[in-house]
Symmetry: C2
Subunit: 139 residues, 2 copies
């Protein structure tokens, strides 16, 4: 049973804009969070690597997202001189700070979309998915 006796919870500081809206304006577009995850968690930092591990993502859209993310300070383009040209993308501090959001989305998905996400359709906790001690950094 669900109790519903909790009163409104209001921010004690007046806000002239909504922080959720602001955050989602950038992060809410298709593929954006997945790209940040690829870079920050899976360490797929190169253009074609990202395409490889992200079925459905096209070069055009990836390119657009990378530019947006760079423009908005989430990622940084690192060009290593060599032939052929090697480019890496890495998270800035701002980009790093999106990972806790990602974690919550994983947590939610692993609980409520278990049927889509797992073969055995059983919900899992984030600790079951990432028991590694390095993961605590983001939990």
């Amino acid at each position: 049973m669900k109790q519903n006796t909790i009163p409104p919870l209001l921010p004690v500081v007046p806000m002239k804009a909504c922080p959720v809206e602001s955050s989602m304006g950038v992060l809410g577009r298709k593929w954006t969070l997945l790209i940040l995850r690829n870079i920050g968690v899976f360490k797929k930092e190169r253009f074609n690597q990202m395409l490889d591990v992200t079925p459905g993502l096209t070069p055009r859209v990836l390119s657009m997202r990378l530019q947006e993310l760079e423009r908005d300070g989430f990622i940084k383009r690192i060009e290593e001189n060599g032939t052929p040209k090697i480019v890496r993308w890495e998270l800035t501090e701002k980009g790093d700070d999106t990972l806790p959001i990602l974690v919550k989305l994983v947590e939610f998905g692993a609980k409520w979309f278990a049927d889509k996400v797992f073969e055995d359709k059983k919900p899992r906790t984030i600790k079951q998915l990432f028991p590694q001690k390095e993961a605590r950094r983001y939990l």
Copy 2:
């Protein structure tokens, strides 16, 4: 300075779909998270109340979002018999579980979009925004 020596962090359970993608499929549409916040945090549970506190949101889109959210089990329609007809929307357990995601988005926005969000343009922590003890429920 940002260190970047962290190795890839992989889920120990194989996944046939991405939990982030699944979560965002529902929650990523415009206004959706704001509506959940209105109901769950601000306790604006009625149709016109929501319109009032959500500048830019139109009846059509609100109606669409409410239906999607109900279909997907995030909210429940409660019709109180009376004239005129009063309808409340409340969060299900699944809906409640989205609030921690919201919190992380607020936290991110209050830090990195402080210039848009606050008059004084100074970043704030989530504890500064919601020092109430009831808020701990979601932090």
